[in-house]
Symmetry: C2
Subunit: 484 residues, 2 copies
Amino acid sequence: MHRCSMYDELIIVRNFNVLRYYTQCIFRLNNNNPHIIMKCSIPKGTRDFLPLEMARRNYIFETIRNVFKMFAFEPIETPSIENLSTLMGKYGEEGDKLLFKILNSGDFMKDVDFSQDYHKVVPHICERGLRYDLTVPFARFVVQHRDDLVLPFRRYQLQPVWRADRPQKGRYREFYQCDADMIGSESLLNELELVQMIDAVFSQLNVGVTLKINNRKILAGIAELVGAPNLLIDITVAIDKLDKIGLDAVKAELAERGLTQPQIELLNPIFELNGSPADKLNQLEKLFEGIEVGQKGVSEMRELFGYIQSVQPSCSVELDLTLARGLNYYTGAIFEVKANNVSIGSICGGGRYDNLTGIFGMPNVSGVGISFGADRIYDVLTELNGFPEGLSQSARVLFINFGEAEQAYVLKCAAQFRANGIATLVYPDATKMKKQMDFANRKNIPFVLFVGESEITNHTVTIKNMLTGEQQTLPLLDAIAMVK
Amino acid sequence: MHRCSMYDELIIVRNFNVLRYYTQCIFRLNNNNPHIIMKCSIPKGTRDFLPLEMARRNYIFETIRNVFKMFAFEPIETPSIENLSTLMGKYGEEGDKLLFKILNSGDFMKDVDFSQDYHKVVPHICERGLRYDLTVPFARFVVQHRDDLVLPFRRYQLQPVWRADRPQKGRYREFYQCDADMIGSESLLNELELVQMIDAVFSQLNVGVTLKINNRKILAGIAELVGAPNLLIDITVAIDKLDKIGLDAVKAELAERGLTQPQIELLNPIFELNGSPADKLNQLEKLFEGIEVGQKGVSEMRELFGYIQSVQPSCSVELDLTLARGLNYYTGAIFEVKANNVSIGSICGGGRYDNLTGIFGMPNVSGVGISFGADRIYDVLTELNGFPEGLSQSARVLFINFGEAEQAYVLKCAAQFRANGIATLVYPDATKMKKQMDFANRKNIPFVLFVGESEITNHTVTIKNMLTGEQQTLPLLDAIAMVK
């Protein structure tokens, strides 16, 4: 029903005189025949996924999805295309530039004044764009369906997003996000469950990770401590670089960003914090005497780390005051996950936001959420050689095709294998045996089945294990049990 | 990691003076608070899917995907965004208009001559577009990855496609296609397997369907029979309307489309064909004396219907010469599936094409495929009330939250439920019991769990069946076994 004419213009491709229309394609001559195969390509920053990659990606998605389900998150989907009025202005000026914008349909151009700056032209020719993340569409979704949602509400969403970013290693223009958010409850048990989910996903994937946790309120407390609450972002951005550039360089940057020398000295106890999360929180509590927001942050983290201790996650969980991601919108806990033995940046992140739907004028919707970066997790598992064997098996058994005489029996057998949940292939053509066996080898099909006159008479099949070379003749049901 | 600042512009929304920027939004005053909730919306022809719809859609997708897997089809995915050079000219002039085109990035407009006709402007401002179907991207995929594919190759692909069509009931601008194609073999066993797959999908979904089969070569034979091979499309388009408009009107249309009265009379035996598929094929064989293409069509259909008889599908399979879908590209068998008791048009279709990749200059890749229309199948199941119960269950059990004293034990119990594959919710706040029970009822959670002092002491939980009202106190493992 969804297929449309794709051969209307076939004649054009075959007509060498009009090949010039395909100026963006590179042609190469195929010596075996007179046809010219076009060099097909896809847009920069996008990817095709072949069966093996699909199997590996689905392994990651299924692991994440299953953990989301166990924690009773419910799936939703939103359209790929949103109104630009929903998307624009939500990701900062830089984000607006990275939105893929869709040209309006029809002959709308004649009324547009193209002599203006192109920024002013765009809104007249594009009303819709591709979603940039899953968070703003979720906020829009919550506002739009607020009468249908029972709070507290937990949703998960695994869908692609698009960004007109400059493509580079590990950064694509189309990629999947795997988000889980819980809204309508301020309880720190929600944060705990996110920690448990992170732990479950990476345990199941066999990836050793470190989860770093911080709290926006502690960072605000630090800014108050030095008497520069307006420099909160500057201070945390500088502190965030401690690992990379060292203490002296951080202090230099703090001075550059407007802190006085005495203010910088006030930060020394922060740089000298040490011990377990509980120890650090005790030291912070003393420093934050009289600083309400800092005390609130310490008490939240104390409660959360208390919960964490009681559930004993298998990954290591750290309190890391240099963690400064998402400061524009996170208001409480901040999470970041890094793989222990692969240097690739964060593979999961999230945090608490007090005002998800404020951008659409609906106040008081607090939430907390995380986002798994499936593409980076894929890279980590590749580097660790961590994908299970046999993920991409297309067919588990192949029936060799000897021709018409055996066909009815083979079809009956194949149907029984399939009814037992076994992915089954009947070689479609009665070609040479060697070609069919080659096919089984190249496709890594583990069992090959032969059916001849005696098998038909005795209701058996002859089955060959392609790995061991072992071959035996068995009743049909025994063969099914053997490969199942 | 994929979250970007969404609150940068929060201040704008809150500042009533600049609300005029959101001219496309309708605002309404919320009497309970001074905030203004924007009327959020999504583009025409697109949809949000809430958890219940998601569960139902996934039920359809999973059924289809599982059948594809049993027949050893392998998954692939292609990018949503393709180069317009790949897409344009493949769907006819009408299709080109329905492509969603993506505006190039950056300030590229200054060099464009906007005084031209807009058709000439578009290629200068848009180089990429959203895919229109999964067939052309698959053809592009086969050409691009031809060195990595082992033929015969079977792929399935479940992804959304986009068309700037006028939205109407059952027709969307973003919708999923579920395609399975097998390439590199001309054996009619492939066609048979598609028939078996159609039968399996609709049997598993419990939808009674009729599968209609035709063959392009038979239609070509008919056109030759009346001496008007050039009018093949006209003849079949007219015959296609037999059911709707009746024989006289069809004959009038045939005359209008250029057939002479004697030619129309030659079609009478075609209109009078009757009996089983085998009977019809015998009658056709006689009519097609000396018409090679027609004879070939008859022999192909005879072989296919022979196979079909040997596997005895549970759906009814008809030879229907009025079936004329996809004539622009199908070269052999043509399939169409209709639900027996719901009038909604076709819910699955497909056919044999001799030259999938010819559009990209790569010849001799024959294939056959089908596409399931998930959206219409959804509508059919809705009308038949055919979705299984309990699909959308978010949580199977809810732990009531009584406060801190029980928390550690509750968290331990919840972890064990989850480890046993049971979707488990701990109510995040220690609010009033009534509110928590209300929540369980509104969310249709079937079991509610209570943990107090005595449960902790005895390592038990008290479990309430929300349907029957029955309540009992059980050891933890027994409770898990009960709800599993």
